[in-house]
């Protein structure tokens, strides 16, 4: 560990690493991409640039209790696409991407099982389904299992190096840059192709428990996935899709834990304070307790707003064995929820579990926000591929789908890199990035500035109140969004006042810079969709109805020179026949 902090740029060493395929982010999709690449081309060098430690990084760091999509006997990839489409209210979704993912899904899940993941099976060896598509697992070791396989296959892993920028050769991506949080070095990774799989964006909005508690990160997704995956591409003019389709979910209240575990896995129906089954009562025409995900997410909050909260997942029908199994599920995914119940002294077979809406996230593995990609999973930046939460257009991927997409991106990247060579290193570009990256650390002890935490909290409060956060019941309007944009611009300008007192803080400074970039794009998307298509995920108070004009993808691109964000649309194409709203 660096004991002394550098006083100027000259003291900071630069390390240049040459590789064939660079993977930015060694989470679920990144590990699968690395494994697939080494399987198909063992002679190639595959390098993972990992912000944390690959054994426990990314969205699945704490573990997982289910694989939400695994196609059962008798069903087809087309059936899965129909279900996925219906879960987002008929889309639009990228059915081309969804189908190819679905065709590769089961193989990815079976890979995990071969590598040591316990998938719960009955006496006949059939996977135990808890709903229509999801199978139960004991996934406490899910992440270590994937990480070990990636290393066993020969992927080279660089831990504790957050990526700060892409290395470009004109319009083509030829690597990435970042810094060592442990050793303070500046890193340049040169590659013939790059896959970005660095997760989604958590922590753009204030979590409802962050005020007056010691727990600022009491959020559903990993708060260390800050949107860098998107920010890397946005700043190079990559096209982004569907950011306005935010992921909001019903979560356990006061501990933002998963609710599907109890509502789907243990048939615990959602009720309001009066004991009414709210989904059946208000949304029977949309499927009741099986209504699309945004309806299920939004319904409990509508009850609160109407004065009928609190809301619950009713667990009072569960016997002792089921309670124990359910707690094991939580121990596999969010163990501290079991601790939380114990700290409330709550017997859930007598008292139901309270639920509430989460803060909004931009996560392309759940909803469909992320890079616009082609069938090879290449973004609009040549040489840059995306997978997992980072890739957009294709919702409801979850663990299995993100894994499958990692494989697909690896295949696409291998094809691409076979036809290109590595250009000379652009030293000026490297020096510019190095100067930008270390600036907050080199401002000196007397510098009168802003800490990363202060700026993050200002941004989260702004987004919560003006861009449809939890305290506003997810609602926004044109005026509020304009206000949010105005202040995001001020914050972006004020990033020059950020100071870091150590390397951990420097990572924090770049996290808030990246979150601001993503937040700005998100607000533009929310502004553009002048309708309400997915209540809760995307609610416009000033345009409360759906407008057929917006039955299309909303896209954005930041102009590299002017910095302006251009908005446009792309048409939806239905490939899988059938009623779009029916599974």
């Amino acid at each position: 560990m660096a004991k002394e902090l550098p006083k100027d740029l000259q003291e900071i060493p630069t390390e240049v690493i040459d590789t064939d395929l660079l993977i930015v982010g060694g989470g679920n999709a990144g590990c699968f991409a690395a494994i697939e690449a080494k399987k198909l081309a063992p002679e190639l060098k595959v390098t993972i640039m990992e912000k944390a430690h690959i054994s426990r990084s990314g969205a699945t760091a704490a573990g997982m209790d289910a694989i939400n999509t695994y196609i059962p006997e008798g069903k087809t990839p087309e059936d899965l696409v129909r279900w996925s489409r219906s879960q987002v209210g008929g889309g639009p979704i990228r059915e081309d991407l969804a189908l190819s993912n679905a065709q590769n899904l089961n193989e990815a899940v079976e890979d995990l099982e071969r590598w040591g993941l316990p998938i719960l099976r009955d006496d006949e060896g059939k996977a135990q389904y808890r709903g229509g598509w999801d199978v139960s697992i004991h996934g406490e070791q899910l992440k270590p299992i994937m990480a070990e396989k990636a290393m066993e296959m020969g992927a080279e892993v660089y831990n504790r190096i957050p990526a700060t920028g892409l290395l470009m050769d004109g319009d083509r991506c030829v690597g990435a840059m970042g810094f060592g949080v442990r050793n303070g070095k500046f890193y340049v990774f040169r590659a013939r192709a790059v896959i970005v799989s660095a997760g989604g964006a958590i922590g753009l909005y204030k979590s409802h428990t962050s005020d007056a508690t010691s727990s600022h990160h009491q959020v559903w997704g990993s708060p260390f996935n800050v949107g860098s995956a998107y920010a890397l591409g946005i700043s190079q003019g990559a096209e982004m899709t569907s950011f306005e389709q935010r992921w909001v979910a019903t979560r356990t209240k006061d501990f933002c834990g998963p609710v599907d575990t109890i509502s789907v896995g243990y048939k615990s129906l959602i009720t309001n304070a009066k004991g009414e089954r709210i989904l059946q009562k208000h949304y029977a025409h949309l499927g009741g307790d099986k209504a699309p995900r945004y309806i299920r997410a939004n319904a409990p909050m509508e009850e609160w707003l109407a004065g009928r909260g609190p809301c619950y997942a009713d667990t009072t029908h569960l016997g002792p064995e089921e309670v124990k199994e359910m707690k094991i599920d939580y121990l596999n995914e969010r163990p501290a929820f079991v601790l939380f119940l114990a700290a409330r002294g709550q017997d859930i077979s007598k008292e139901p579990i309270e639920v509430y809406g989460s803060d909004p996230y931009v996560v392309g593995g759940h909803t469909q926000s992320g890079y616009w990609v082609d069938m090879e999973r290449m973004t609009t930046v040549p040489g840059l591929f995306a997978a997992g939460e980072s890739a957009g257009g294709n919702p409801n991927k979850f663990v299995g789908g993100c894994a499958a997409e990692g494989k697909l991106a690896a295949r696409g990247a291998l094809k691409y890199l076979a036809g290109v060579t590595q250009p000379e290193l652009d030293r000026q570009q490297v020096e510019r990035e190095k100067e930008r990256v270390f600036a907050p650390l080199l401002r000196g002890p007397e510098f009168d500035g802003v800490s990363p935490t202060e700026m993050e909290e200002r941004m989260q409060r702004l987004m919560d109140e003006y861009a449809g956060g939890t305290t506003q019941f997810y609602r926004c309007n044109e005026e509020r969004l304009d206000y949010a944009l105005k202040h995001l611009k001020i914050l972006e300008d004020q990033t020059r006042y950020l100071y870091a007192k150590d390397l951990h803080d420097l990572m924090g400074a770049h996290e808030v810079i990246d979150r601001l970039e993503v937040a700005e794009v998100l607000v533009h998307h929310l502004k553009f969709r002048k309708e309400t298509r997915w209540q809760g995920w995307q609610t416009r108070s000033d345009y409360p109805e759906m407008d057929p004009k917006f039955d299309c993808f909303v896209e954005s691109r930041r102009h590299k020179e002017t910095g302006e964000i251009e908005m446009f649309t792309r048409p939806y194409e239905q490939l899988v026949p059938g009623d779009r709203c029916q599974p």
């Binding site: 426990r56 504790r160 010691s214 700290a343």
Partner: protein
């Protein structure tokens, strides 16, 4: 929900370049102090994934629910075995529950 380190039990993982909790924390939050004991540098930023608690070889780390969200005092202690995990949970009234299951097949 911040991890608490028992200073009596923590030996700073002497044989390691840095303690296992610091190696594993996905938020880069665990650090070795000048007293050669590990601590969480910014408890507010912890995601309560319990990676540090599972990784500690001497059982010195405990994850706590912040008081504003849950009452004093409940405990959840993971014990890592070969392909199994055993959790002991003690609620605020002293009621003990144990959970033991396979977390890997190979």
């Amino acid at each position: 929900m911040p991890p608490r380190v028992d200073r009596e039990k923590c030996d700073g993982c002497k044989a390691e370049e840095e303690p296992l909790c610091a190696q594993i924390c996905p938020g880069d939050l665990m650090v070795l102090g000048e007293n050669r004991k590990a601590h969480c540098r910014q408890p507010r930023d912890c995601w309560d994934c319990m990676s540090c608690t599972k990784a500690c070889p001497v059982g010195a780390i405990e994850t706590r629910t912040p008081y504003q969200l849950g009452y004093h005092v409940a405990r959840l202690i993971p014990m890592m075995g070969t392909n199994t995990i055993t959790w002991t949970c003690i609620d605020l009234n002293g009621k003990v529950e144990r959970f033991r299951y396979k977390n890997r097949t190979t």
